[in-house]
Symmetry: D2
Subunit: 124 residues, 4 copies
């Protein structure tokens, strides 16, 4: 009687949140990680990501090389890591928040009205 | 013979990525979602999040009310949703990128040197 | 017959705008300086400025040292230089725009209602 | 004996700085205007400006209409007004800082090496 293997893998957002908690605790960084400071950190990391695209033409954007991709992966990771820490500090379930927002967006941007259209919902 | 229930739940980052793909496809938004535009969107959403903390004192930050929390959850979700879309557009595995970056940070910020210290790694 | 000395000094915003035009022309940078790219540059430089305050407590912010001040002066200058270039590209008179906005703010934030209050005008 | 008219006009950056001082004083906003909060405000306003360009193609950017221009003028003014306030709070001469930075950039980006090239100075 072979037990079917149970997938005990943590969801990656939970796993990363827990790893970040430990990381900050080990370094006693809790004192710096006020919600305000974490929100600043998210903006700062987002701008570091954006800087890579600053002077690229649309054509150049369509042809990003592996080297550049590795750098962008790190910058994206930086944003995500701070997003996770702020969500944790505010005691929010990030996956649920994201699912809820996507639902809300589906209502704000009905398929028929928003197809091929980049207007904001309040201008549709 | 009871089969042990198998956890077939998708990882939430994968689930959200797939939902976002469908969302953008249904609206034919691929044309707007160049890497550069998505990177701009991340910065814009990060600043909308930051705006909520703009004039708050450290004391006020420590006492965020449920109403404000719900708004912040939406803003955090907005950032995450664009981070997921840019990672997908660049064909990056976001969870792996985040794990790798956390590893790298652990090397850059050794526990002993960085405990209780907010200096950048190159100033430690 | 002593001629009264005429103040021929250019207004500093005009002087800087002209110097920036020459700077970009000499380097043939006009092709990179689309309004969109300049707007990105402003956000990127604003975040570099913000990064210096990221982990500072309110007390530390009140005691910025000369060294740090020189760095902040450069970051502020970077933001201003791109603001001037975008205004020029859009053929806007920046000083007039700033005066007009200040006037508008005076109406949006009446002294009596907004004294000691950091609320947004639409919440006053 | 016709007196040559003397240009007694204040430089616009000085005039705006003074007007902003009065504006904040009348509203007792000094307590909110810590350097850190003003740096956040600059980033938030820069992102509001950037949002207008978020989904625009390069072609659309080249053809901005008067209506949109008036909105952009306000957003640019918002950035400038906070830049002026932070410079004032730090007791910096913004025009001098901008002139100095432009000089420094001229050294970092020699005309011959940087013509038609958007690379960062450390990659030239």
């Amino acid at each position: 009687m072979n037990a079917t293997p149970i997938n005990t893998a943590k969801d990656s957002l939970i796993e990363l949140r827990d790893a970040l908690r430990q990381f900050a605790n080990e370094r006693d960084w809790g004192r710096f990680h006020s919600p305000k400071n974490l929100a600043i950190a998210i903006s700062v990391e987002a701008a570091e990501l954006l800087e890579h695209f600053q002077w690229l033409s649309e054509a150049e954007c369509a042809d990003i090389q592996p080297d550049a991709k590795a750098t962008l992966a790190e910058e994206l990771a930086d944003v995500l890591l701070y997003v996770l820490q702020l969500a944790d500090k505010l005691d929010l379930d990030l996956a649920t928040a994201a699912r809820d927002k996507l639902q809300k967006n589906a209502v704000k941007y009905p398929i028929e009205k928003s197809r091929g259209n980049s207007k904001k919902y309040n201008e549709l």
